[in-house]
Subunit: 324 residues, 2 copies
């Protein structure tokens, strides 16, 4: 049976995943990450006073890299600005969720969307008495970024964990999922990161920089095992799971989103096309296809606001059902 | 004759370069870039008052990407923080040069070296009367970044041009070189960017996202034509040229640096090994190998300070020789 065509046979996938993790370079500060996760989840499960436990969502954001050499000079990267994940994080926090933001280093951060590319050098100036001040047109954007961001961190509602490689991403995702297991149906995974499909297994990788003098470069990359299955089956089986499908070819997009929904038993798959992804997405569930558009009557509206509203509604119904 | 082994036959290389540029996607805002270059070089060639023309150095910094798909989701990237180029830019400006800083989007910027990874969110806070202020330990670093950077831009000594892909990088580098041609020996190229050796020719590239369902991915990449030859022979033949050689294997480093010096007729090749590149480099010239180390008695010293001092000295001698 071909494990790539839907009906996955159990053992081969598990073995693939085990071999991926076994061969990956060890994650730096793994113990520190697990400690932070434990504290964050405990704090939000038993909030001060008589509040009920917060729902916790893991938002993944930005693209993963695949190193081509062990002492890494070259790597394959997946394009993703991290805009979707960062904006969605803001709406989840607004809706009362605690967010574990697993993001690619250097990508967009929550509350910073309306800032220019290089905010430090573009938004500030040195006054004559040599104090640093915000330049006029940016005052509100800078205030919002700094104060909302600090409020979310200080309130214990936002935990940020950075990654770069596919190895780091999947190792940290596994730690997050296993830490969130006990939250049951209160846990949500919102997997917006652009995750590499192909990688070079660490052990078969060139140790040194690949030399360019010897003609064209032929590379063979193998498929990254599909971790969504493990997430759903073992790491956090009760969690509400949303994955993303990005294509540049709209003709195959919905078909591929439906395949992903069934194959990995997601609750929702958000289908988006590269060129229109900031205007609209289609949310595919077991029995619906829901088109979600940004409010085009408002210049600064975004598609994440109605998308997170829809997800929060569906998640609430899921939590209620699970309690019965 | 094998064009990869040193003795380059003329026509094949020129044809390769022509075909690279012909097949590249057109550069956005090419006219705007050329206009900025023209103004910057004119301003520094005829400074206000009776000053003599400034020397102009083009510093390239950060890594180039190679798209694997035309509507780009995946690409191969070259690791480079841009630290070397950004720091060197500061020392060149201090030494009286005007700098054209050709940098990869998102990499280190001049005057920002001592700031944390996410300066906006880490260095600022919102006070009780809701003004934005710098957090204590970062005050000096932020002041320096903002005021020195603005002074360099406002004084007309720093022109920043960003790139992402190998196509953009080489197209802009060509425009810069041709704009600097008339500066003769006053022009310097300090080529610290990590430039891709291999690329997928635009026309043979997949239009849509590569599908992952069909087994392992085999890729064939071809060599990027060696533009240093064209730079030296045609674009700006009188310029003083410094290129960089980075290897992870110290055993082959100096040998490869010497080959590059001869093959591309550089004035200097800076040889650096990945793991020690912040401590020391070896400058290879026609008849010397000069080890340049940072001052280890100073905690915050860097290797760029003595390196730029050495280069400025050699460039001065070169300008003098050319005037004879």
């Amino acid at each position: 049976m071909d494990s790539r065509n839907g009906s996955v046979s159990e053992t081969p996938l598990d073995a693939e995943i085990e071999s991926f993790f076994d061969s990956a370079p060890p994650l730096k500060d793994s113990a520190g990450i697990i400690k932070k996760l434990k504290e964050f989840i405990e704090y939000n499960s038993t909030p001060p006073g008589k509040g009920s436990p917060r729902r916790v969502v893991c938002v993944t954001s930005g693209g993963t890299t695949v190193p081509l050499e062990q002492r890494c000079v070259r790597y394959i990267d997946n394009f993703s600005s991290g805009h979707r994940g960062a904006t969605s994080t803001e709406y989840f926090i607004k809706a009362g969720y605690a967010v574990i933001f697993l993001y690619r280093r250097g990508t967009f951060q929550p509350y910073c969307q309306s800032l220019p590319e290089d905010p430090l050098l573009e938004c500030f100036e040195c006054s004559e008495d040599s104090t640093i001040q915000v330049r006029q047109p940016h005052t509100e954007a800078v205030k919002r970024a700094v104060s909302d961001h600090h409020a979310a961190i200080a309130g214990g509602h936002l935990l940020k964990l950075p990654f770069t490689t596919i190895f780091e991403y999947l190792q940290i995702l596994q730690s997050i999922a296993m830490s969130m297991k006990d939250l049951g149906s209160l846990a949500v995974f919102y997997l917006a990161a652009a995750v590499s499909d192909f990688y070079v297994p660490w052990k078969s990788m060139a140790e040194h920089k690949i030399q360019s003098a010897s003609g064209p470069l032929d590379m063979r990359l193998v498929q990254v095992p599909k971790m969504l299955s493990a997430l759903k089956k073992e790491w956090a089986p009760m969690a509400f799971c949303i994955s993303f499908k990005l294509e540049t070819d709209s003709k195959i997009l919905l078909e591929k989103a439906e395949m992903a929904l069934k194959k990995y038993r997601m609750h929702m798959v958000v289908a988006n096309e590269l060129s229109t992804r900031k205007e609209e997405v289609t949310v595919v569930t077991g029995n619906e296809k829901i088109l979600v558009c940004r409010d085009k009557t408002q210049a600064d509206s975004d598609v994440e606001e109605p998308l997170i509203e829809l997800i929060v509604g569906r998640h609430s119904a899921y939590v209620k059902d699970s309690d019965l």
